[in-house]
């Protein structure tokens, strides 16, 4: 994200040009990708409004890469009516809600665990290696099973997805926060000692504020993981709404155009959530020079 900063305005020109080049390249690439399947469809004798493979490449029902017009149609089809529970805006909202609730849960438990880790050396030595190792482990792998398990115990609807999102997001928060709580400047710790400050005062006035940059770095990782977690949870359980449910449905129906549109929504949601955490960071840490 730093890359965006110094050139917010001046950099828009090159960004625009690159976008235009990408757009110009899109059409031939799309044709190249679709021409094979189009030829095969024609050969199979399907009813199509076009005669050559090249002409059909932009009109396939399930294209490898959809044509711009198809994407636009798909976007309108999936986005309207805007308030419908079957349309994407509502489902994006559901997933966003699950993710944010999950992130909140993850933050609370992560900070709690971090406090324990910092307070007790024995606890740290007993568990930290596993916490760190768990960060290199594909935790998503557990999500489908956790979803089933939670369902068995009657946790249903919104909550299990948020819990799975929290479960995936909580390790980076715990590790980041415990790193943060330890990151206090030794000079500041000495200073608090010369004031004969209590341990609670040292935490409140020094360790917590000093840990905030670390916490937010972790939260930026965590929010993306939480989003992946809630979508995977939606896929793995019987869900009636959410991006994951739409992905699973359209993946089964092989509706490529819909998958592309959903990807677009997912990208926007991902970028928005990270931007939200960034905004929160700027609000909570007004002293930071950027």
């Amino acid at each position: 994200m730093t890359a965006l900063r110094p050139s917010r305005v001046a950099g828009l020109g090159p960004m625009l040009i690159v976008a235009l080049i990408a757009a110009a390249l899109y059409w031939p690439l799309m044709l190249a990708a679709n021409v094979g399947p189009a030829g095969r469809t024609l050969a199979s004798g399907a009813e199509l409004d076009c005669r050559t493979a090249l002409a059909c490449a932009s009109q396939l029902r399930n294209p490898v890469v959809p044509a711009p017009a198809q994407l636009a149609q798909g976007f309108v089809r999936l986005s309207t009516p805007v308030t419908s529970p079957l349309a994407l805006p509502y489902n994006v909202g559901v997933t966003a809600g699950e993710t944010l609730l999950g992130l909140l849960l993850a933050t609370v438990t992560g900070i709690g665990l971090a406090l324990l880790l910092v307070a007790s050396q024995a606890f740290e030595r007993a568990t930290l290696p596993w916490l760190v190792a768990s960060q290199t482990v594909p935790v998503v792998a557990i999500a489908p099973m956790l979803a089933v398990l939670l369902g068995q115990y009657g946790v249903q609807g919104f909550l299990p997805k948020a819990i799975i999102a929290a479960y995936i997001a909580f390790f980076p928060v715990a590790v980041g926060m415990s790193r943060g709580l330890r990151s206090a400047d030794p000079l500041h710790l000495d200073l608090m000692r010369t004031y004969h400050a209590s341990s609670a005062q040292t935490y409140r006035l020094l360790r917590f504020p000093a840990s905030l940059p670390h916490l937010f770095t972790a939260l930026k990782v965590a929010v993306t993981s939480a989003l992946v977690g809630s979508i995977v949870a939606e896929i793995s359980t019987i869900s009636f709404s959410g991006l994951g449910k739409m992905l699973a449905e359209n993946s089964r129906a092989s509706d490529t155009v819909a998958l592309w549109v959903i990807m677009g929504y997912g990208a926007v949601l991902g970028v928005t959530l990270v931007a939200l955490v960034n905004a929160l960071e700027r609000w909570v840490t007004p002293w930071s020079r950027r």
Partner: protein, 270 residues
């Protein structure tokens, strides 16, 4: 010999116990595969109101001595009394303020809030903000109270950290090379300000430096230390008149004293 006017602060206060009293003080650090003798057989007695400089090459134990007095480090031998009590008791009674080599301001607090920090921690009664503002005025930074530390120059930051150390009005001030990282002009300016503060507040200052002119200019006595192992080589009385000014630096006596200290330092080096 020129006539020297003994400063009012050093007039021997009969009967009053020294504010710092050190006997055979020793500090040994365990290091991988042995130990470092950071301080050996240190003896020193400091009266209330003195301005003492500790001078010596780096690694001679100046910081260690200061940290021992501040109860940030435990001695491995000898005796150390601050205001007549053990160092940890003196710390709990908030007898001293400590200024580090780096300003060590908290970057999430504004200048004013940084000065407020000790008052908050110590739950000092009364109008704390007024007190903090007064301190900022003392160091000439009242216009910057809303700024964050990074918006200030190094010299200004160090002045804030001095204001912070003075805020809770401790009788004793420990300063560890506070101006070490500053340019010569700023440093001389802050030296003058520090002397003014010292005269106005009547505090006892223990000041670490490795600049001979700075030590001579500021102090009532200079403690010369040498390295390997760290020990006190000698103590030089600075009988230059008060108040001191830029003219003091031109005083022939200033050069005599500086030479005396230099000789002591060389002796320790040999």
């Amino acid at each position: 010999m020129t006539y020297t006017n003994p400063s009012p602060q050093v007039s021997p206060t009969l009967g009053e116990p020294p504010i710092v009293s050190i006997r055979d003080l020793q500090k040994v650090f365990p290091v991988p595969g042995g130990e470092t003798v950071a301080l050996k057989d240190a003896n020193l007695s400091i009266q209330r109101g003195e301005f003492i400089s500790l001078i010596g090459p780096s690694g001679c134990g100046k910081t260690t001595l200061l940290r021992l007095m501040a109860d940030l480090e435990q001695p491995t031998g000898g005796e150390l009394l601050i205001a007549g009590r053990p160092a940890d008791e003196a710390r709990r009674e908030r007898q001293y303020g400590y200024v580090f080599q780096a300003p060590a301001l908290m970057e999430w607090r504004t200048v004013l809030k940084n000065v407020l920090l000790p008052l908050e921690v110590m739950n000092v009664p009364g109008d704390r903000v007024a007190r903090a503002r007064e301190m900022l005025k003392l160091v000439g930074l009242e216009k910057f109270e809303r700024n964050y530390p990074w918006q200030l120059s190094g010299g200004m930051q160090q002045r804030v950290s001095i204001a912070r150390a003075l805020a809770f009005d401790p009788p004793l001030l420990f300063m560890d090379e506070p101006f070490g990282a500053l340019d010569e002009i700023t440093r001389e300016h802050l030296n003058l300000e520090l002397l003014r503060l010292w005269r106005e507040t009547g505090k006892t200052v223990i000041f670490v430096t490795h600049s001979i002119p700075e030590a001579v200019f500021l102090s009532t006595r200079v403690v010369v230390m040498t390295a390997r192992p760290g020990r006190i080589e000698g103590v030089v009385d600075i009988d230059l008149p008060h108040p001191r000014s830029d003219d003091t630096r031109e005083d022939p006596r200033f050069f005599t004293l500086a030479t005396e200290i230099r000789e002591l330092l060389k002796k320790g080096h040999a």
